[in-house]
Point group: C2
Chain length 496, copies 2
């Protein structure tokens, strides 16, 4: 460092200085972070939107953001009950308004009672409002057929993202070959790869099996682990179920096998279950890792460490902007759990409106309450439409030559494989782009459709994919799928 | 690692396994984190509250939380205008209600227009809603007497905490003696020491001068920097102004000197200005680092790197639970700024209600608008009461023998020095406690008053302090100060 310092002093005497913080001197782990969902494609989409506003002529009139699982941005309407309760919490004068049902008022009062100074404006405990942690625990118990959940194992968070980062942060340790290795599915939700880069942990890829509708393959998991042992200390296994970007829903048998594997191999399990209500395919069903773990009995139930994540951003809620989430930890070492509580206390607390929303998610109106009927109808409508859109997506894509799309069993995405002609691959190479990035950029420029290239999520070498959400309104989605199909045909022709 | 793995396999055959994640195997940086504001004192306070609820007899009837700057938890009422606008944003059906003033409706509509799907439930850009970034930039310009601010240099955040952690995360690099060193004031707000521990950066203490009302002393800064150069690469200088926990407000001359120092020594400046509206003392005034920097002209104005932080949690707002904040970066390397944008995109976006609140803070009702009068009155009332409480605190403490309290010029805390009799220090030692921790615990057990020992913020060896917020309502605060004074007298007698 000494010479750099002297350089600076020298420069200083001339009144000129380099920056303290440059690409060369900044945190190298941060430099390595990539996050495709908001990467170059989105940047270009934003530029195009700007140009459209300025009146520049384009072959389309609007950008369709099918790049991110943001339901309300695509027109999904929030659940009335949630927003009514929240409005009363925000502005309690409304508690005396005749325009809100009784159960809405009771609910808002109950939440306010649990807040410091009876206000959403007070900090809460760092792990979240105790009453809400208890409500979450009861929700988990109901969901899991009565298997107990301890509120003290529930930590509310700033969206699931925050909780995932917190748990990973606890798990990262070691240097060189002893660095923590984290097994993640490929394709993955890129929060995982980004977090591992930021935390300087070792990413260990296991490939999902596209030929079996993106199922998790135990042999592949074993291969990945075996090979990783040479270069790191694998300690964590991440699973996303229902899957993003794959739309796959795991069977109970698969989950059991994964748990057995994690136990045998000494891996901490992280189960990302933010799409737990988003299951559409006949024969598919959501099984929580916690439930399966507990039903497997000892030693799994009593020893296997697990963290399971949920969020208000997905399912039928789509309340992404409120940043509500939670993690339930199971069989976590008590001392480590204290360390986790300490770590999150530095950030003070998760946003209280997000906590309040989570409370309503885990504790929706009961059948006897005035808001029940409307709540139920709104919820069903959202989920039924998503199911229809999942089906439509699979159908239209699979009618297109050169596109193959696995069934969208759950979550909110399709991840079709596209054949790209060799000349397109070559052209991309010349441009220094991944071939599917080139395809997605061309698609965007010509149709205004914004999807994310498979390379942002990971894929088998030599295959090309893109991720598209199923969130646009049904008729718009139909148009979009048609447009995409036509574009692919034209693109294929152009580069053949 | 190999032997551990074998141990596990061995144990596995017996059906018994150690945990994957233990104190020994967890992230050692996380273990080193300490956060006094929510440390053992708060834990004990919560237990006592539990006991009170269960009917256990105590020498007090309630716990008074003077440990954390949480205004609304202590009874401060939120600003009506803020909450009205937010309620309409949350539940837009209210836009047609006759019960809300026109400007409230216009404001809510304007915010909703800027949201995806016109809903708070959509993700926003990771740096925040562009319109709000523009409003923030205009606020900064007004605040700084017309000095321009670029909206693209403003990043909204999840409270100021989040933005501070993000900027530190960018700055951390190097190994061994090349590790990034960060200069922080002592006493400090413990977010800083906690963040540095978590990020494995080197904490470099510079002591504020208690004899000069906690002023920043340039000679001391120079000493700290000089000594630190042997063990790390000091690259960052943090300043908290107005000060937490000191209540000190920096003079313009001091700020100029700090900027010159940072420039000469090649330090990135971080200015924590979350208390910018909390200035009470006559003759004291808030000067933003940005303004002073710009007015100093080149080379400072054109080259010195600065990040300045603000929040909706403090000042007259006290909206801690919404987790709204921002950072403005000045003279940051353009490439690094792109890296910062990428880093925050992994967490998707700051909570949208917090962003909306920030928008109202930087863009309050104009004198011509219907909500102006009430807004102004509410704002003034909060600030006037805080000023009265600041004065009262200083007064009462300084009447007490053995307690010395500097003037609370700004922020929300007093940090009085207490004399502790040698026998108390000895008793604390026997119990393995810091002497001021022992004092604060005794105070809590006997009076229910919860304050944080000075050791949690840092202090000169051999001196003892505690931090107490000035937030309890005036009459309650008076009682509390009296109680504290009496307790100190009694404690002194008991251990003399
Ligand atoms: C699999 C998965 N996990 C976690 C998240 C994070 O969601 P949030 O932070 O909004 O709760 C997402 C968001 O898309 C996701 O798809
Ligand atoms: C000096 C200082 N900076 C930053 C913060 C963080 O505030 P928030 O994250 O609520 O904006 C606090 C909170 O007390 C503080 O005192």
């Amino acid at each position: 460092m000494a010479s750099r310092v002297n350089d600076r002093s020298q420069a200083s005497r001339n009144g000129l200085k380099g920056k303290v913080l440059t690409l060369d001197t900044m945190n190298p782990c941060v430099r390595r972070v990539e996050y495709a969902v908001r990467g170059p494609i989105l940047q270009r989409a934003l530029e195009l939107e700007q140009e459209l506003r300025q009146g520049v002529k384009k072959p389309f009139t609007e950008i369709i953001h099918a790049n991110i699982g943001d339901a309300q941005a695509m027109g999904q309407r929030p659940i009335t009950f949630f927003r009514q309760v929240l409005a009363l919490c925000v502005y309690p004068n409304l508690l005396s308004s005749p325009d809100f049902p009784d159960d809405v008022k009771r609910r808002a009062e109950r939440i306010l009672q649990a807040c410091g100074g009876h206000s959403l404006g007070a900090y809460t405990m760092s792990s979240g409002i105790q009453m809400i942690r208890e409500d979450v625990a009861q929700y988990i118990e109901r969901r899991d057929g009565g298997i107990p959940a301890d509120p003290n194992n529930v930590f509310l968070s700033t969206g699931a993202s925050d909780a995932i980062l917190t748990v990973l942060r606890l798990l990262v340790a070691g240097e060189g070959r002893a660095r923590t290795g984290v097994l993640i599915p490929i394709p993955q939700y890129p929060l995982y790869s980004a977090a591992l880069a930021e935390l300087d942990a070792v990413q260990v890829d296991y490939y999902l099996d596209e030929e079996r509708a993106w199922a998790l393959d135990l042999a592949e998991l074993r291969r990945a682990l075996g090979q990783a042992r040479d270069r790191c200390c694998p300690r964590v296994l991440c699973v996303i179920n229902p899957g993003n970007p794959t739309g796959q829903v795991q069977t109970r048998e698969c989950i059991e096998a994964v748990i057995r594997f994690a136990f045998e191999e000494g891996l901490f399990l992280m189960a990302d279950e933010v799409y737990q209500d988003n299951v559409y395919a006949e024969g598919s069903q959501f099984h929580s890792f916690k439930k399966v773990l507990m039903e497997m009995g000892p030693p799994y139930a009593t020893q296997q460490e697990l963290a399971s994540f949920h969020s208000v951003s997905k399912c039928y809620m789509g309340e992404c902007g409120f940043r509500g989430g939670y993690v339930e930890v199971v069989n976590m070492d008590a001392e480590v759990q204290k360390q986790m509580a300490k770590l999150i206390s530095v950030r003070l607390c998760p946003p209280v409106p997000g906590q309040a929303l989570m409370d309503m998610v885990v504790n929706p109106p009961a059948p006897s309450e005035p808001s029940f009927k409307q709540f139920q109808a709104e919820r069903q409508e959202v989920l039924a439409e998503l199911a229809a859109k999942a089906k439509l997506t699979e159908q239209v894509f699979n009618e297109a030559p050169g596109i193959h799309c696995n069934p969208v069993q759950g979550a909110m995405y399709s991840f079709p494989r596209v054949q790209l002609p060799p000349r397109a691959v070559q052209r991309a190479q010349e441009l220094g782009l991944a071939a599917d990035m080139f395809f997605c950029l061309c698609l965007l420029e010509e149709t205004g459709i914004c999807v994310v290239p498979g390379s942002g999520f990971g894929q088998q070498e030599g295959t090309y994919h893109f991720r598209m959400t199923i969130l646009p309104p049904l008729e718009k989605l139909r148009l979009l799928l048609e447009k995409l199909r036509h574009f692919h045909a034209k693109f294929t022709q152009e580069y053949s």
